[in-house]
Amino acid sequence: MGIITEKLPCYIEPIPGGSLLLTSMDAVINWSRANSLWPLTFGTSCCAIEMMMATGAPRHDTSRFGAEVARPSPRQADLLVIAGTIVRRMAPRLKTLYEQMGEPRYVMATGSCAISGGPFMYNSYSTIRGADEIIPVDVYVPGCPPRAEAFFYGLLTLQKLIKEGESVRRPGERRKPVLSALPPGITLDQIRAEMAAVLKSDATVNVEQAAKKLEKESQDGQCESADGCCCSRT
């Protein structure tokens, strides 16, 4: 019971198949964590509505990914979605919320405000310029507010991150944060087609592959992103 915080004894690895055992343990543990991201009901402003559209609305429905069990208590939540602006008065509370969550905990910063302060960056005496000044963030989802599809893209990125992230041997070690921007030039139809294909295929989504494919396509054409925001993925 409880999270694995200690390194597993090194004598497991020397025994034949020991590392295989550990690797498959990793896979199972990470699989369960990735597929059961219970979000905290927490939203500060506009992005919360789009987040609710993504999690709550029947059209998008995060319950397909097992992430609809929104917990009002931070103790029971795994995923803190920072949806909206964080201001100086809220900052200590956000930190408390994060600290109240039990490990493993993941943080998604959705929207410009949570990433950089967004439209409230300049001349504001109270807006924190990015939630990562307060707590560590795993995935950034840009947009003002990000569409429900972008939120999903972020969720899938996080799932992928978790699946290949922590290992039993090195607990607590995470991959560096990623920006989960939709590739430039992507259209709604493409996303829908990808979602449909993915729904058909299987339970695991190779987000990176899909993104690379789209990137390749978009390199052939022109980069038509309106805000010139080019995405980077690790």
Binding site: C46, A48, A57, V87, P119, F120, Y122, P145
Partner: protein, 386 residues
């Protein structure tokens, strides 16, 4: 002179005056800033006596972003996009309020097409906002399904907006001097399809929630506020109208195209939670009526009467203008010193005033009622804090 500055700590200090072993003690509880039913980061300090609420002390500022200060450093056009982020559920109407104030100050005449499209958009936004409220209201009372039904129907209006505006939530569509873009060719068809779709759904809303005996028990007579208190607290919109005061700027000022359409101002009788619930549901019907009347007669014309590149400078002076958003009266007060950015810009937001109704209405009700009352006031916290 008796100016005494207090702090929150002073307010929440308990007096231990009774020493009888049988006396009960009142206690303070923090509701929020992270609480599922405060709709964001509102914090209410509750003085409770068992389950009974004795006093509500709202503590604000958890999403105070200093929009008014920022406005002093931005041009008038730039400020429109900040107004989206106040009450993001009536973003278009907020845009309209700011634009209208600027237009009136700068004497910009608009053509009918712009006015009609603005009115249409505002009414669609109002329906969308009430849909969300209805869902969240159900959830606050413990019924989860309305939440999803509300969102399901909200998506369809979001689609209509997206087609024309390009955004789903923060629109920045109504600009000083017109509209950002002309409407999408499929707009009229889409809106008609939506009206067709939504009418039976509204009946479904009624069957799912309104007729439920538990809901009636929870709402009738709860959180009653008479018209005089509502006026004194400065409540507007459905909250005021539920208390029986027929103040609707769409009727009394008849801005936009509201003068040309027939619709009723919905008022309640008792000013309790049920009336606030019912007024909002009925308002959705009225909004649909307005949309129905306008959708077939959108006049021809340009969607922008001034070039978007022109920098706006207002003549020196102060300008105040109000618009009826989904939650009440949004007033924009601009003081101009003749420069490109306002000298002072102040927003009289509907939720700020509506929120304080909780201090008047929630006392001596139960904790569960407090949630119902708060939800029936339909506050959007960033709009309070600005």
């Amino acid at each position: 002179m008796s100016v005494h500055i207090t702090t929150l700590d002073d307010r929440v200090r308990l007096r231990q005056d009774d020493s009888s072993p049988l006396s009960t003690q009142e206690y303070f509880v923090n509701m929020g800033p992270q609480h599922p039913s405060t709709h964001g980061v509102l914090r209410l300090v509750l003085k409770l006596d068992g389950e009974t609420v004795r006093e509500v002390i709202p503590v604000l500022g958890y999403i105070h972003r200093g929009i008014e200060k920022m406005g002093e450093h931005q041009s008038y056009r730039q400020f429109v996009h900040l107004s989206d982020r106040l009450d993001y559920l009536s973003a278009l109407i907020n845009n309209w309020a700011v634009s209208m104030t600027i237009e009136k100050a700068a004497n910009i005449e608009l053509n009918d097409r712009i006015q009609v499209i603005r009115t249409l958009m505002a009414e669609l936004q109002r329906i969308q906002s009430h849909q969300l409220w209805w869902g969240v209201f159900g959830m606050d009372l413990g019924a989860f399904t309305p939440f999803l039904y509300g969102f399901r129907d909200r998506e369809i209006i979001a689609d209509i907006f997206e087609e024309t505006v390009g955004a789903r939530l923060t629109m920045n569509y109504i600009q000083p001097g017109g509209l950002m873009y002309d409407i999408h060719p499929g707009f009229v068809k889409r809106v008609k399809a939506f009206l067709q779709y939504f009418k039976p759904k509204l009946a479904e809303y009624e069957t799912l929630l309104s007729g439920n005996v538990i809901l009636q028990e929870r709402l009738r007579g709860v959180g009653r506020m008479d018209g005089q208190t509502a006026l004194s607290i400065g409540a507007t919109g459905p909250v005021l109208r539920a208390s029986g005061v027929p103040l609707d700027l769409r009727k009394s000022e008849a801005y936009g195209s509201y003068g040309k359409v027939a619709f009723d101002v919905v008022i309640g009788k008792n000013g309790d939670c049920w009336d606030r619930y019912w007024v909002r549901l009925e308002e959705m019907r009225q909004s649909m009526k307005i949309v129905e009347q306008l959708i077939d007669n959108i006049p021809e014309g340009k969607h922008m009467v001034m070039k978007p590149a022109v920098k706006i400078k207002l003549p020196e002076g102060c300008y105040y203008n109000q618009v009826e958003t989904a939650r009440g009266i949004l007033g924009v007060y601009i003081v101009s010193d003749g420069k490109e950015s306002p000298y002072r810009i102040h927003l009289r937001t509907p939720n700020f005033n509506n929120l304080w109704a909780i201090t008047e209405t929630a006392a001596n009700w139960r904790l569960g009622d407090l949630v119902a009352i708060l939800s029936s006031l339909d506050v959007v916290v960033p709009d309070i804090d600005r």
